[in-house]
Symmetry: C2
């Protein structure tokens, strides 16, 4: 049984897949809270002008209309949020007087984009975001903290190894400026296409925009640098470019890489080709590769932004990252690479001798539930073989037979066939059978 | 700090309120799973024709449009779901071949209604539904099970006492037919207004529709019957009306009340005025009163439906109930009747001697987190008094001072002022301080 999408772009998991999703979310939440992030949910809708502030994304917005709005009725222009960053920025501005800064929040919600659906791209999908925002200034050490949180969160899941690739906008922009390129944003957007169009075409685009052959070569040489420690710095210096912004970016990136290396060797890599298309990033940027799924692109991305939330003289710089949960699960489900140990929460099915004795079976079920054992009672007093087959079909591992005449209560592990006398006030399944587990 | 709604009808909880909401949802989920219900999430959108099948609710639907839909582009007519029953019925029909029946599912999701917002009525709100559907026929014992689940779920919360009021459509319709009233649905809809318009007006409406004085009086007499055991049956019989459908309804209602009475005395009451306006119910119906909040109406309602999900000769009768989670929490928050023991997940703030020694503080934090203790590191190396006040303001109960020269690691309970030497590899806060708790 696999996922279905009777409406293109709107996937729905099966009950078994949903168990996986819930347990994944439980683990993400657990890690986020261990780092002191507060949970937040914002409404699904935002005023359209909020959503359209970043012109690039306007084409993806779903707008909302009341079907029965009265003739001539003034309606607020509302759209569904397409990410969790824009609503969060709005929430911070609205509630700034009531929040404690730096404010650490996580937010796990559906978002909607009216894009063309394709593999791993949905119109409705779940994101899990963490952000830290501060008032006026945000110390750069938070840029080093984000990969620790995400590393712990993703490594708590039974998924392939993840690598967080990190770069710094200041480093790139300083380098481009030091090289004498006057439009660093333009260069960055071109470098962002490197994996898609290749180095030759990138050089061509840069030179068409006025760069010299040497400048284009230097830009590509910078983009080739990768290291899992601070040694990227020597490689950058070797290119012989100087600029104060470059120095700042190098120092910040070194701090991110070194902090991560102490915490979790192999997790983070300075990867100087990472650009991130969205132009609101101003410092560290993150992308994440899943081993074996590299061709599907980043499953978790983000960065530092200084200008997303501001109102008059109040500014709230922040840093954040977003896990594409639906995207990640969709890829893994398609490869049968993640599953739950059973497809239902139920551990025990209590058999039923006859409909009149349902209260007897109900009492057994209540006793088991009172000790945390998920239990159902058989739907109908069918023949025992049929009741056992029902449990089998549902994926329930144990069938309980209430006392019958001289025969005391018994419980059967229907996988091994083992059947033992048991007391509903004391019997427990082995720990691994208490609840479905991720595997 | 209280909830905000900068957009009328779209409430957003504060981070502290969100902790309450999450823990409430955790407990509901726990109970639902103990009874073997599988979690399900359906997409937020449904084809408009699905949503409009029940004409009554059409005025509440939000429709969706892609802002940048191409000129002349054919677009599916989509709307946001206004409840979780219609999408669930659609899901069951679509996936019938892959589900095991009886299918027990719970579903906790936002729903949207374009209604006029008012106290306790939102345009976006969270519902928690459980339903059991079967193929072809659904045994009536499931109608008796639903109140047990909901009773356990609601009584796991620190909220005022709940009373589940139960009635049965067959009982009422049989009674009305036995009385000689030809339009039992019409009578039911009138009785549904009893609390709003009073008995005199109900009698008037009934008589205007052709009922005799005696018939109207009998209808009202039936609606007055309440009992927390099967004694309602004698009261019904005392009215001298006979009909086979009445007998069926009485027997089913007696089973519901008696099953609940054994499980949880005082939880369920046969309340024969309960009608439920929606006309798809065909058997047991439920409403729920919260002590002290009766005037706000039912916080949890549902019933049995035989005809909601059908396709050709396949029918899937079901029974379900829905907790209005946003509504319930909104009422309780407004009275400060529920809260969390602290407003953040964080148990410990690790102080910072100076920025260079951040790795020292990070190591303490990592050691505490590895044992499940939610920990943050101070944002900046301010004076210690200022770092402690930061923890105080955030509501973090403990501040950790990493070893400093000859002084070993120490931890301070900032509520009592007590400060003790501690080892980050072994120290634990008291169990009640590990995580915020509901109170």
């Amino acid at each position: 049984m696999s996922l279905s999408a009777s409406l293109s772009g709107f996937p729905e998991w099966t009950p078994a897949q949903r168990i996986v999703e819930q347990q994944v979310l439980d683990r993400l939440r657990r890690t986020f809270e261990l780092y002191g992030f507060s949970s937040l949910e914002t409404r699904a809708v935002e005023p359209l002008d909020q959503l359209l502030r970043k012109g690039e994304t306007s084409k993806e917005v779903y707008t909302l209309h009341r079907l029965q709005a009265a003739e001539g009725e003034e309606e607020a222009s509302l759209g569904l949020h397409f990410d969790l960053t824009v609503p969060f920025a709005r929430y911070v501005l609205e509630n700034a007087g009531r929040l404690q800064f730096p404010f650490r929040r996580y937010q796990i919600q559906k978002v909607w984009r009216g894009e063309k659906p394709q593999e791993g791209r949905y119109r409705e999908f779940l994101q899990a975001d963490i952000d830290i925002v501060d008032r006026d200034t945000l110390p750069p050490h938070y840029e080093a903290e984000i990969p620790l949180v995400i590393g712990d969160a993703l490594r708590s899941l039974p998924i392939p190894a993840v690598k967080i690739m990190v770069n710094n906008r200041k480093l790139c922009e300083g380098f481009y400026l030091g090289l004498g390129l006057a439009e660093p944003d333009e260069v960055l957007r071109t470098v962002d296409k490197l994996d898609k169009i290749g180095p030759d075409r990138v050089a061509e685009v840069l030179m068409n925009a006025g760069a010299s052959d040497a400048q284009a070569k230097a830009v590509l040489a910078l983009a080739e640098i990768r290291s899992s420690d601070a040694s990227f710095e020597a490689a950058v210096r070797g290119l012989g470019v100087e600029h104060p912004l470059l120095d700042e970016g190098v120092a910040e990136l070194a701090a991110v890489v070194e902090t991560a290396r102490e915490h979790a060797p192999g997790l983070v890599e300075a990867t100087l080709k990472i650009a991130r298309g969205l132009d609101y990033y101003t410092g560290t940027v993150y992308e994440t590769e899943l081993a074996g799924y590299e061709r599907y692109g980043s499953i978790c991305s983000g960065g530092r932004y200084d200008n997303l939330a501001s109102a008059g003289k109040d500014v709230f710089p922040g840093v954040g990252i977003s896990i594409g949960v639906s995207r990640l699960l969709g890829l893994l489900f398609a490869q049968n690479a993640i599953s739950a140990s059973r497809p239902v929460p139920t551990a025990v099915l209590v058999a039923l001798w006859n409909e009149e004795e349902r209260p007897v079976s109900n009492r057994v079920a209540a006793a088991l539930r009172s000790r945390g054992i998920a239990t159902e009672v058989a739907p109908v007093p069918a023949k025992l073989g049929k009741q056992i087959r029902y449990a089998e079909r549902r994926g329930i591992p144990y069938v309980w037979f209430p006392a019958n005449g001289d025969i005391p209560d018994q419980v059967k592990d229907i996988r091994s066939g083992e059947q033992v006398a048991a007391d509903s006030a004391g019997w427990n399944p082995p720990a691994e059978d208490m609840a479905p587990t991720l595997q």
